[in-house]
Symmetry: C2
Subunit: 312 residues, 2 copies
């Protein structure tokens, strides 16, 4: 395979939702300035944490599994309601209904407007009070990015999520980045509940921030969503039922036998290692780069994910 | 089709590379603040210009046509060289070799490393002096965005392109946005020439700005590239030759019979209408939105494209 003229030094360029296999026991011969590969190679086991099976969902499609992480710290009602919907097997047999280029894919009940045919939400709620922002609190972890953001007073990372906050309004929220999972709603801000969810598949639509509830993010398997044929109807909806992409099931990882789980760990965002990773993205030190940007936007900092190594 | 719980008011949400059909003769009952739909409906014929057939390329795939616009104002050597390659039919029968999720697709010669098999560039150049930036000049049109950008001193629009400039260094350049077309290169900054081109299919990789030559953008047909299966090799390269996506041809629009051209026009970026469009994106006034962002990044302002209406 020809590599001439291709980007070199970009092997780790687009990892925000991709798994990274890293050998943590490489020799500590790293010198500053570090590339992201350096940071990953030098990371310690304590720089990572396993995904919580109680907040991890598996969306099963014919093409494979999409691993999603819920964000109960930012959307407690919606995260709990989605889990209830999942326990009710609400999504099983429903479908991806929409794929709009450079924007979102979205799934739900194709019969949601037909009272006779629509799926029952069972013990879940059909709609909930919006969770566009949460109050700032000292308990909320927040690693602040050093650079100014156009859409928010401050941006950074809270737990496993890209986030923003505004000291003036005393609020924090999750930012709309590639892979973000949001809760579809109607004009009424309290009309969403989680029965229809969308995932960002294009450039970060940050103007949605604080206008819709973000309930989580895709951790692995984005390519199964981002490559779906685009719908030709308004907003990228599929025009024919046979174009719908069936959802085999959505399951909570904790409800799946351990042998069938995707055992993944995520880099912690509150560590010196992650601070070094941020700097490696603000100023790319790979030999290929000639002009370091001196900046990185919150959606362009990858939060690395990797399989948990089997015990030796 | 159920629309309940779906985003409403977002019909025009992600148009940066999509065609927009607009009826320009709607009644002028628009009141401020305007939505983007208002701006489009109120636009005059003089707010639009036809794509220049001498700078428009058609990438023909089995799935359809991708329409691309070259940017000779920013990359004169590379735009001319790509046109020469196209005249030589250099790309015909080559292939898309790479599809990396949330990053780029890239095409070129699968045999570029095999001196015996590689395609001849004919009268074109295999490599050229880099065109990462151009000198600022008074002749260069530039509509400045009102908001600060993280990656550049100023951002805005120059001709049909998202761009940036820095008065301190007296330079301007095209920004890496969804649909941007760049010139693959090796470590040597002058090693690219246009034989291998990439298109951005994910979140705006602005850290590439000023590190690689941007030679144009996709105007229509992005979905034919963005939905290609992702490559499973390093950097998203396809691992098997049978995965390569064949290029039937690339042609200059001027060399295609008029009856076979995609007759498109693009909204001018140096008009009050485009200024109104920018404002409609800085502060979304569609009823669905509750919190206008008061900001828009240069890659998130759509440059509308529409078919040229047939003469009546």
């Amino acid at each position: 395979m020809a590599l001439r003229h291709f980007f070199r030094g970009l092997v780790l360029a687009a990892l925000s939702v991709a798994a990274v296999v890293v050998h943590a026991d490489l020799p500590q011969q790293v010198k500053k300035p570090q590339t992201m590969a350096d940071v990953l190679a030098a990371s310690k086991p304590s720089d990572w944490h396993a995904l919580d099976p109680q907040n991890t969902l598996y969306l099963e499609l014919a093409s494979g599994r999409v691993v999603m992480e819920l964000a109960p710290a930012f959307a407690p009602r919606h995260a709990a309601n989605v889990k209830t919907l999942v326990h009710e097997k609400y999504f099983d047999g429903l479908a991806i209904l929409r794929s709009q280029d450079n924007y979102v894919v979205q799934w739900g009940d194709p019969n949601s407007d037909d009272a006779a045919k629509k799926r029952s939400v069972g013990n879940a709620q059909a709609s909930l009070k919006a969770e566009f922002t949460i109050p700032l609190s000292k308990e909320l972890p927040f690693t602040v990015l050093p650079d100014r953001d156009g859409y928010a007073a401050q941006t950074g990372f809270s737990g496993d999520f890209a986030a923003a906050r505004d000291p003036k309004t005393n609020t924090a929220w999750l930012t709309h980045c590639y892979g973000s999972i949001g809760v579809g709603r109607d004009l009424d801000v309290d009309s969403g509940g989680g029965t229809e969810l969308y995932v960002v598949i294009g450039a970060s639509p940050r103007w949605l921030d604080r206008n819709i509830t973000v309930v989580g993010r895709v951790v692995q398997g984005m390519e199964l969503l981002s490559t779906l044929p685009r719908g030709t109807g308004a907003l990228g909806f599929y025009e024919k039922p046979e174009q719908h992409v069936p959802i085999k099931s959505i399951r909570l990882a904790a409800d799946v036998p351990e042998s069938e789980r995707a055992n993944l760990e995520v880099m912690r965002t509150d560590t010196p290692t992650f601070a070094a990773l941020i700097e490696s993205r603000r100023n790319r030190r790979d030999e290929w780069y000639k002009v370091p940007a001196g900046y990185i936007d919150v959606c362009s900092v990858p939060i690395p994910v990797r399989p948990i190594a089997a015990p030796k």
